[in-house]
Point group: C2
Chain length 617, copies 2
């Protein structure tokens, strides 16, 4: 199957187009085991959760075949769609007859709930029929529709079947009547439909869906505002004028995805400017060091610039995934490494923490400091995050490469085989890498009908990177794509040092003042109590230029590289230590060893204090 | 009038009893101007707000004389009661015929709304009659009743009139039928009725009200819990077992007030232990350096231990006032200075910031760090804070002194005359002081029929305090009450140095790490942008032992003492400064002068950045 994450093959403003998820076959030790668990366990367990929590019964009920009340939250349809989307992507790369059959059955259940006019939302049935489209601000109808569209596209690309796509286009046509140029200029309180519609356009080439998506972005920030110009709903300003991430974090990053999708298709200049300004604000003042997004529990929202609390970091897993999708779209649009850097960083450090190593427990919030009480759950009443992780892992190979401007772009490296069409022939690469732990990458051109032009990403963290090709080794700049022309049989060696960075925050981030975070290569580390038998994590102190020993074991946390710091520990405060006392009383810290593990793997062992940012000596 | 804030004259477990608010006549430059504004402007403006926002119409409507819907929030009755309470206290110390007449009219309006069975809540009228007492968790019925009781007691003590007291007791009798020993063991989701009922008992000596108050405290933390054992409602544990401030902050401090009131009357040992454990947790791990309470916007709630964010400090003005009321009760119960220390500190640094210098604008939240966007409002939809400030200022003289164990206790000092009964005679003191700015206090015994035993508070901040009496000067310990036996004509001089403290936080408070706050005497300071013409507040850096010059002017902010620090300033980050960068890049700060003003006076001039905690060099 040809199953690119988004299909930009006919998008006039894209600098590159994603390869099919099937074009990249991962067989590495880091990503593929997670994808295996996802395909074999996670997706099935999520379908089971949907069954057991009434999410599927709601569709049966809407079809008139279940005599009982609507169950759960009014937007629960979206979870079913997201699991279907995950399954769709998974069927492309990991065909599975049992899953295929189960998905067919689920789709039949969904299809049976669709109304004759195309409308489909199991909450707004029977006595609630009259409430359809009455409260776009709060009721997530178009949000659910958007997830149906994405699921339908994934299922179509993954299996070639149009069963869910037919449901989706029928509903989209119904929506067009309401909100197309003959209807109302309006959008959903929770963005999502925008990117779903553009994808539906890419599959069907039905221009109406693109028009609708653009209208939904345009609907925000009008005077008067459809949602009283509320910042929470990104209704405070027209998208082109927005210059700060604001309000509900998942919504704003999803809006950015939708706007980017519109730009990729029609080059909308205003949206492009909005996207650039929002991105700048995000990465220079609103993004956690993990890539996480959303500083406030209240409203699951972005905070002010430089407001980045650690213990109360909200950093919803969904917001990180939304950011990954946004970065990916910006990368295809511009070809600029900065988007790939944030994308990779966010997947590793803000998405992966959302999933337990067992593949069946999830974080909704991802604090950067915790006392050990925050643990992953098997499911949630509001279960947006679990299937969001599943769909990302299912489509993951598609994030590794793109084609454009006659080049094959490699965005990330792993043990993998890559095969993409090239004119009438194809290009096959065999990549050897042990990312994110080891610096060396070997890219072997296994098959090619002619010269192969590669654009190889040198990550921003790979200070001192080197490239060897044709017997010549040269320095390459970190934070760039480097062009290489190769031929069949060539091997290109990249040396991407996993530089250890001892990070400090912008001085306006008062919650991180005089604290430091450790990053090695693309991986952000943390101190977990379970690794510090002698000291309380809260008393650890890091000198400005700490000596770091790189260690690790294949057993620990499914095989991670750990760091051993020659650092310090402050005296543990006595039980009588006052909350506020004279500055001069503080006692100096004494030398101590500190063990750090990757943040993405935290909370998989005994509970205890955890901190990403550690006080400096 | 004899108008003690709470009347402990017959309370068997009180170590002292508050003097009448009329016993202390303030004529100082710090408190009395605020009280004058309160009596002449604030209370009247709040009555006007109640009129204009439909809060009074709701009573007229309930009496069947206003044809329209209920207006505003369902607990809006409480605001009217709190304004009446403020007026009641004010009429005691500042008789005002116009206010007295207006209050009589308001009371008539309230009384007319009372139902034949005594029930009184303007929301639960007409079509909502059937919902009375159906949702104690959310609907604040008993909370509103509690404020009626407090208002009635204040009005009775302030004017001698029983008009509102009759309404209150009639409603209390109605409540007793529902929730007394023959009724249901239950309480309100929002505590408040407990302390109101105990006060009603103290006025009427009707034991049923005390029984009811005790039952309401007892109702929390049962198995099963009346509110699903929710922490938000302090229903997670029986009060005696509670050992951490938790959930909605105002509710928990009000609960502590109610429990303390019960202990004062019946010595309940379990409640007393709960109070002590809660207080310890509060002051050693949950209280802001200002005395403020409540770390989270989400749920207006206490946070975990040591969770004290500055920019997102919620520290609701009402929570600070609740804490003051709690400290005051604990002080009367125990005679221990630590409660007076927190009480004074909280009034100055956490209550006063809630009110603008104009007496007509209010803070609901009191952040310790802000970018200048947080400004005081003339009123709120949920207007709990404004009348809470007004009632505290109206009853303020009552916080200055108590009588007990044959002693007259002075808790705070100001230019004031104190006159209290002493056997058949009286004691009159003339106190000279310029608190909180100047160290010297002179207490002159103007009149006394015999020896006068004084217990004089030496605040915990007055390191190096001295007492002079009868020509002898001696050192006295800070953080204590010192006993003095004096005679008519004596003058006792106290020297209470306004020590400058450069504070640090407990090392587990990660949001204050390597930051310092400055306190002089009982006043916490902050840096406001308007005072730093040359530097951005966010770049100020304070050395460990900063030289401080005490300055000030009678014009600035109605006369405050300011501090001039020989400190430093870090280079202002360029617009390109990354959010995260290598630790070693930081440039050293350079010397600079920093002006600090009292935190209570912030946001009364041009908006700009403000910080209480400032980074250390």
């Amino acid at each position: 199957m040809n199953s690119p994450i988004i299909d930009l093959s006919s998008s006039p403003h894209a600098r590159m187009q994603p390869v099919s998820t099937t074009a990249v076959k991962l067989h590495d030790k880091f990503w593929q085991p997670r994808r295996d668990i996802n395909a074999r366990r996670t997706i099935f367990s999520q379908i089971k959760q949907c069954r057991e929590t009434g999410r599927l019964d709601n569709f049966v009920r809407a079809a008139g075949k279940f005599d009982g009340p609507f169950q759960g939250i009014f937007f629960n349809d979206s979870d079913v769609y997201k699991v279907l989307e995950a399954a769709g992507w998974s069927l492309a790369t990991d065909p599975d007859a049992a899953l295929d059959a189960e998905v067919d059955e689920l789709i039949a259940t969904v299809a049976a709930a669709q109304q004759p006019d195309g409308y489909l939302n199991t909450y707004f049935m029977f006595d609630r029929e009259g409430d359809r489209w009455k409260n776009l601000k709060d009721m997530h109808e178009l949000y659910c529709a958007g997830h149906l569209f994405q699921a339908a596209v994934a299922h179509f690309r993954g299996t070639g079947k149009t069963s869910l796509l037919q449901v989706a286009t029928k509903f989209a046509d119904c929506i067009y009547k309401e909100f197309g140029p003959e209807g109302k200029l309006a959008a959903c309180g929770h963005e999502e439909a925008e990117m779903g519609l553009v994808e539906l356009y890419r599959v069907t080439r039905d221009e109406r869906y693109l028009v609708l998506a653009q209208r939904m972005v345009d609907a925000r920030g009008q005077t008067p505002g459809m949602f009283q110009n509320s910042e929470y709903h990104q209704d405070h300003l027209p998208f082109a004028k927005q210059n700060k991430m604001i309000g509900h974090a998942v919504r704003h990053v999803y809006l950015c995805c939708g706007a980017a999708d519109v730009v990729l298709e029609n080059g909308n200049q205003g949206f492009r400017e909005g996207l650039e300004n929002l991105w700048q604000s995000f990465v220079t003042s609103q993004m956690y060091v993990t890539g996480g997004a959303g500083s406030r529990y209240e409203g699951e929202a972005f905070g002010a610039k430089y407001e980045l609390p650690n213990d109360r970091a909200y950093t919803e897993t969904c917001a990180a995934i939304g950011s990954v999708m946004w970065q990916f779209r910006m990368l295809q649009l511009t070809g600029e490494h900065r988007f790939a850097d944030v994308m990779e960083h966010t997947i590793i450090n803000a998405v992966l923490p959302g999933l337990a190593l067992d593949g069946e427990h999830y974080f909704y919030e991802n604090p950067l400091e915790n006392d050990g009480t925050h643990r992953r759950s098997a499911w949630f009443g509001c279960a947006c995050c679990p299937p969001n992780v599943a769909r990302l892992l299912a489509q993951l190979p598609g994030y590794f490469a793109s084609q454009g401007e006659g080049k094959l772009w490699l965005h990330m490296y792993a043990d993998m085989d890559v095969e993409v069409p090239d004119g009438d022939g194809c290009i096959k690469l065999a990549v050897k890498a042990d990312m994110p732990w080891q610096p060396d990458v070997a890219i072997h051109v296994v098959e090619a009908s002619g010269p192969v032009r590669l654009a190889l990403r040198v990550p921003v963290w790979a200070i001192g990177a080197k490239l060897t090709h044709g017997g010549v080794t040269r320095d390459v700049a970190a934070g760039a794509y480097v062009d290489v022309q190769a031929a069949c049989g060539d091997t290109i060696n990249l040396h991407l040092p996993q530089t250890i960075q001892q990070l400090t925050s912008h001085p306006y981030v008062s919650s991180n003042y005089h604290q430091t975070a450790i990053q090695r290569g693309g991986v952000v580390y943390c101190a977990e109590q379970v690794d510090q038998p002698l000291h309380d994590v809260r008393t650890l102190r890091i000198p400005a230029n700490a000596a770091v020993e790189v260690t690790g074991s294949s057993n620990l946390l499914n095989g991670v590289t750990t760091l051993l710091l020659t650092a310090a520990v402050a005296p543990k405060p006595s039980a009588e230590e006052p909350l506020y006392s004279d500055l001069r009383r503080a006692e100096p810290p004494v030398p101590a060893e500190v063990v750090l593990v990757p943040y993405f793997a935290w909370a998989n062992r005994d509970p205890g204090h955890m901190r990403v940012w550690l006080p400096q000596v």
